[in-house]
Symmetry: C3
């Protein structure tokens, strides 16, 4: 029997504080998976824009409020020289560099209707910009609606 392939798109707009703000998206993505009724497939989470990224982490305050930001400060210090800032006369060169390194996209397998995340593995948005933003997150579920 031909499985019924489906694609279900959704988007959410998330207010952030910028400055390495880490936000847990797991429940939003889990809800999109449940509403899609996809049994097996892929959940793709994508942030629109070039100063934020998506990854997974254990969502606890030590990591999300300090440790991740400290690593990005080593990679792309806020006070280093950025020619981007000379182009636009702004202050977020480090934000762009951090976002390109982290990447805007994450794909997570869905098996038997559940994402295969670990217990201590949350899907997070990290906003590197230097001011509060509203971030558009695109969630796309693609897969097979029949249990397989």
């Amino acid at each position: 029997m031909n499985p019924q392939m489906m694609i279900v798109n959704s988007q959410i707009d998330i207010p952030t504080q910028g400055d390495n703000h880490v936000i847990d998206l797991t429940q939003d993505v889990r809800q999109a998976v449940a509403q899609s009724a996809v049994a097996d497939g892929l959940a793709t989470v994508f942030v629109v824009g070039s100063t934020a990224g998506i990854t997974t982490t254990e969502f606890e305050p030590g990591l999300t409020d300090h440790d991740l930001a400290a690593a990005f400060e080593r990679i792309a210090p806020r006070d280093a020289e950025y020619l981007h800032e000379q182009t636009w006369h702004d202050d977020n060169g480090h934000s762009h560099v951090r976002a390109s390194l982290l990447g805007p996209s994450l794909t997570v397998p869905i098996v038997h209707g559940q994402m295969t995340l670990g217990t201590w593995q949350q899907i997070v948005l990290m906003d590197f910009d230097t001011r509060p933003r509203t971030r558009r997150i695109v969630i796309q579920i693609i897969g097979n609606g029949d249990p397989s």
Copy 2:
């Protein structure tokens, strides 16, 4: 009605200058999406090889010609010690390390026939090798041909 799922593969060969050369692939991927006639789905962009990577950035010269390269020089300095270079007697240990960190693959959702990129968010190839290369980029569009 069963949506018509499609997979359309294409590849392009891109000459680069190496040495952190950043090349805008957005138009190539956009064209592949348009030719596929996929309305909703995923665009996957993959670079073949282990000394280049794919990400998104604002494609402007400050970032692409200086700022991104400066961050990778902090992470994997060209003149650090690389045992890879002792294995092969070459000079591109830093190129491999940078490429593994950036990653060879990017997935972007397609919604209503358009990738969900931001206005200032371009898909780029970054070539870390120490000499000019011709890079094979695989673009795969998977999705539903019917508007949904």
Copy 3:
């Protein structure tokens, strides 16, 4: 004719030594692709947990036993201050940060039944935890069973 879309899930459990242990998964993923009989599509490789990541590299001992670890030591030194360790009284703050930067997921196009990897480009798990672990790897093949 409607192509037959398929999704085939598998998982493997891999023992690691932790401490930046890099393990070649290419043959496991290649076998999953072959068994799926997918001709064109996507292979997604995902590691469950928040102290390991997936990427590609040339699998040779200089890179896998020294050079990659040295770069992660620059980004997130083992002996830096991690508030995560104050939360849990453990020693793997750097492991979490490294894993979030590398990312838990990789997608590789499948074209004519083969992944589009380069000759010197292997799919690897990198385990950043501070002790041996058994890692669950989810491999999902999605695509078209008919040659296209």
